[in-house]
């Protein structure tokens, strides 16, 4: 077997300019499933690839696993180049220091639970010189709560148990990198939340570098150290969950992560403490946080999270409304959700989604004033 000992590096995985197309890209019409993706995963981190279906996240993961062969780019894993299109170098799946939890778990129906879990030790890349295979496997099964099932047929397990078995099998192969392909998508909602906590706990306990693919933003935010948001084969943003939510860089990210009101910008000018953006609804002062300066010709969107909007009943005439970050509108719809009130506020034909406290008495047709702090208003150049 190949030498798996990794040189100590800061990054466990480096992906550089990865491209992959299915079928033959015709000249002039290259449609890539993955189009120039580059990112790094530091050792021991939990990184999530997040995006809608067809965004290339699973393809990226399969390229990492060596199950797909990229058209171009470079992948370095644990200090070893496992793929380099320029040098026509490809390390095969079985020789990469990985383990994988596939979407449908890949539990072999003709084996018992124990045989499934012990497969990496008996037949995997580190099969030589393994001792006490059965005992170690049983310990691992105990850790994931399957010790009582060791002698059952794998098909007798429930969905959640199969998922745990797949994880146990993956961890037993002691990988440098753990790849997880939407492992929770086939479970019901409650189990999903429970297993997602378990998953993160195991990952921290074993300290294994993990790459996780999902289309569920809640999962991504809850689990990850870093989230890579992908769309149309490209990366939209790489950030921590908090920054991703609070400081989305593109309107796609703002819309995909949580919910957001996106108001098209008409004119943008830079002011001392941010941007002053003219829109059809009025002017918004947006605080700039680490953003590049914008040219006035640029257009884009103003992004406002529903929970950051303050709503007040309008008692006086609209003339009293401030000249920016404050607009008058009419309640077009109200939904009481127990802990909060979700309002649709109509402003000159545009509808804003607003989360208000449950105590607010607003009915459809009431005139209101909505207000946002500049710190909560973000300008997104498109």
């Amino acid at each position: 077997m190949s030498n798996m000992s990794a040189q100590p590096t800061a990054s466990s995985i480096t992906i550089h300019e990865l491209r992959k197309s299915y079928g033959r890209p015709r000249a002039g019409d290259p449609s890539y499933a993955v189009d120039g993706v580059s990112f790094e995963v530091p050792k021991g981190q939990f990184v999530t690839l997040l995006g809608p279906s067809g965004c290339g996240k699973t393809t990226t993961l399969r390229c990492l696993a060596g199950l797909e062969q990229p058209d171009s780019g470079r992948i370095v894993m644990a200090g070893r180049t496992v793929f380099d299109a320029g040098q026509r170098h490809q390390v095969r799946t079985e020789e990469r220091p990985i383990a994988m939890v596939p979407q449908h778990y890949g539990i072999w129906p003709h084996m018992t639970v124990l045989d499934n879990a012990a497969f990496p030790l008996r037949h995997g890349r580190a099969r030589k010189g393994q001792q006490n295979i059965k005992q170690r496997t049983l310990e691992m099964l105990d850790q994931v709560g399957l010790s009582g099932f060791a002698d059952r047929w794998a098909t007798q397990l429930s969905g959640g148990q199969q998922q745990r078995l797949a994880l146990a099998r993956a961890l037993l192969s002691e990988p440098e990198v753990l790849l997880l392909d939407e492992p929770l998508s086939n479970l019901d909602a409650k189990l999903r939340v429970k297993l997602r906590m378990e998953l993160r706990a195991f990952q921290e306990q074993f300290g294994v570098t993990s790459v996780y693919v999902t289309h569920d933003q809640a999962e991504a935010l809850a689990l990850s150290d870093t989230v890579v948001v992908m769309n149309g084969g490209r990366i939209e943003q790489i950030d921590s969950p908090e920054r991703l939510y609070q400081q989305p860089r593109t309107s796609f990210v703002a819309d995909f992560i949580g919910s957001a009101n996106l108001i098209p910008a008409r004119h943008v000018s830079e002011v001392s403490n941010g941007f002053l953006v003219q829109t059809d609804l009025g002017a918004f002062l947006c605080a700039s946080r680490g953003q590049q300066k914008a040219t006035s010709s640029e257009t884009g969107h103003v992004c406002i999270r529903p929970e950051n909007v303050e709503v007040h009943p309008l008692h006086s005439s609209p003339a009293n409304v401030a000249d920016h970050n404050e607009i008058a509108g009419v309640v077009a719809g109200a939904e009481f959700l127990g802990d909060r009130l979700e309002l649709l506020v109509d402003v000159k034909g545009t509808r804003l989604t607003v989360t208000a406290s449950a105590g607010l008495s607003a009915r459809t047709g009431d005139p209101v004033v909505v207000r946002v702090q500049p710190a909560h208003t973000r300008y997104l150049a498109s």
């Binding site: 026509r88 490809q90 497969f119 890349r125 099969r127």
Partner: protein, 589 residues
């Protein structure tokens, strides 16, 4: 018995050619795999291609009586004389009438049965539907003999029964051949049509009913067009089967010299006079080959278009059945009568005759002197031990070799690991278009003239049968591979297990039900495959089916032939039953 041998749709169909990514690295095992592929390519070429080339070569050697290799030079005289003789016209006409007639009988019967069992509330479906498929377990040679016994004009029970109501039937005639082949074709056709009807969303038919269209119109305007692709694919496949079918036209057509292509080829090679006409046989063989390939090409084209109609399939609807109303009872009586006459009676007559001292109608009086004497005579006959041994050798070797080679070809093609795998797979599917009588003749020619000392041994039959069943084997296994979850294989690969380990520990165990099924399927069919064994037979390599042919045609000893037929039928039934039992176990798992 529940029969679920889904053989037909997959056979001969073109698999979608997947995009083959160029592999950058080729593993250490790569060259060995390519070497195996090359060896198999040679083998397939040797098994199929070389005999056909020899056949073609022989057809250009004009001489009625000499061996083709002894004739100097080439000429198209054979073709000229065949096209000038009146025989080609009459044989072609016979073949056309026989093929179209049998197809129509099969089509009408299987369409009616499939619609009744899948879409209406006909009572007794649970018994009648499996019964419709039960004849799959009966080898075609046994079917032909059973019908000869049941419907021969002198003492056939069916003939006697119908004579009482003034109908005279004679199975030794063109209508007789058509009826027997037509009924024989029902199960395989039913198997292709019934699933199409079952998948058809009843809402489509109900929508027509709600606007007031009566049943006949609904069938004609909605149901038939929607299952059209399945029906036409099944029809074309059956035409290939009818064309190459030998036992029925030979056993039922030869007594009054009604020849079709397949029986004429055998007759030219093994005439009663003993002087084989090699050039005539080879020329007719080439013509038949061309015809069969043409049909297969049309079939493959149709299959390619079939996906257009996929939209009609779908899950999540409630299966509602069309009520037959007051026709419910009359219809079930008609179906039951057909089942009795078409399925039960031939086997019953076969059993009856095998237990009787001489061929006679089924009567209560006859019950008294039934005995197992015929079986005892057959089993203790001189040379029977050798025949049994030969049969066992041929069938076991054929099933094992064809399954093993077919597995390699299908797996290599699906996994696309080695160069040439896809091509190899396509090559075997071409062999599907070679009629067995032509293949048998071609192998005969090859070994007559190339001095390899296996002529006259069981090995020559095994070689020809492997060539015959290889396409089926690789198709059956490919179908199973397509249904296999790719994730199960990938899960093993990412643990770092070597490709060999993945194949041995994961792929083959997961495939094992399909491998068993393929093995048993070939076992059952090799047992009843007459034309190849008959053409390649000699004193030392007789098999059971050849023994059956000889007993029936030469000595005309019906009771002994029946006993032999029942023995073959029993072995074949056990194999088919095992296939389906495994199929059922798969569903439960």
């Amino acid at each position: 018995m529940s029969v679920k041998t889904t053989e037909a749709p997959a056979v001969g169909a073109a698999p979608p050619p997947p995009q083959q990514p160029k592999r950058i690295g080729r593993g250490p095992g790569g060259w060995a795999g390519i070497a195996v592929n090359a060896a198999l390519a040679l083998l397939v070429g040797y098994l199929v291609l070389v005999p056909l080339v020899i056949l073609l070569y022989s057809s250009f050697k004009a001489s009625a009586t000499d061996l083709p290799f002894d004739v100097p030079g080439f000429s198209v005289d054979n073709y000229i004389s065949i096209f000038q003789s009146g025989q080609l016209g009459s044989v072609a006409l016979n073949t056309a009438i026989y093929t179209v007639g049998s197809l129509l009988v099969s089509l009408v019967l299987s369409l009616c049965l499939a619609y009744l069992f899948e879409r209406t509330d006909i009572p007794g479906r649970k018994i009648l539907a499996p019964l419709a498929l039960a004849p799959m377990a009966v080898p075609v040679t046994v079917t032909a003999i059973a019908w000869a016994i049941v419907a021969n004009p002198s003492n056939g029970p069916l003939a006697i029964l119908l004579r009482q109501i003034g109908i005279h039937i004679n199975v030794y005639s063109m209508p007789g051949m058509i009826m027997v082949m037509g009924i024989f074709g029902v199960p395989s056709m039913y198997l292709m049509i019934a699933p199409a009807l079952g998948r058809l969303n009843p809402e489509l038919e109900e929508a027509a009913a709600t606007v007031g269209a009566p049943l006949i119109r609904r069938l004609r305007l909605i149901v038939l067009p929607l299952i059209g692709p399945a029906v036409s694919a099944a029809s074309m496949l059956l035409v290939v089967v009818i064309l190459e079918g030998f036992a029925i036209p030979a056993l039922l057509g030869l007594p009054n010299r009604t020849f079709v292509f397949s029986s004429l080829i055998q007759f030219s090679l093994q005439p009663p006079s003993g002087f084989a006409n090699y050039s005539k046989a080879s020329t007719y063989g080439v013509l038949m080959l061309v015809l069969s390939f043409a049909m297969l090409m049309v079939y493959r084209r149709r299959i390619r278009d079939a996906h257009r109609f996929r939209v009609v399939s779908g899950k999540g609807y409630r299966q509602t059945r069309t009520p037959l109303g007051r026709w419910r009872i009359p219809v079930v009586i008609v179906v039951a009568v057909y089942m009795f006459l078409g399925v039960v009676l031939p086997v019953l007559a076969l059993l009856w005759t095998s237990l009787s001292p001489y061929a006679r109608p089924i009567t209560w009086d006859g019950l008294r002197d039934l005995s197992l004497t015929n079986y005892a005579n057959v089993l203790t006959a001189r040379g029977m031990g050798q025949t049994m041994l030969n049969t066992a050798e041929v069938v076991l070797v054929t099933a094992t070799a064809a399954t093993a080679i077919g597995t390699w070809i299908a797996v290599a093609a699906a996994r696309r690991r080695f160069r040439g795998s896809g091509m190899l797979f396509e090559a075997t599917s071409l062999a599907f278009g070679v009629p067995s009588i032509v293949l048998g003749a071609a192998v005969l020619y090859l070994y007559l003239f190339v001095p390899i000392p296996i002529y006259g041994t069981v090995w020559i039959i095994a070689v020809a049968l492997v060539a015959r069943f290889l396409p089926r084997a690789s198709r059956l296994i490919q179908t199973a591979l397509l249904q296999l979850d790719e994730g199960l294989i990938e899960a093993a690969r990412v643990t770092g297990a070597s490709p060999f380990t993945v194949t041995r520990k994961i792929l083959l165990p997961l495939l094992s039900p399909a491998l068993w099924k393929t093995w048993l399927w070939i076992f059952a069919h090799a047992l009843g495959e007459l034309p190849i064994a008959l053409l390649l037979t000699s004193s030392d390599n007789r098999t059971l089916v050849v023994e059956l042919w000889n007993t029936f045609t030469s000595s005309a000893d019906y009771p002994q032939a029946s006993a032999l037929a029942v023995i073959i039928l029993m072995i074949s039934t056990i194999a088919v039953w095992l296939v389906n039992r495994r199929g059922a176990a798969e569903v439960e798992a």
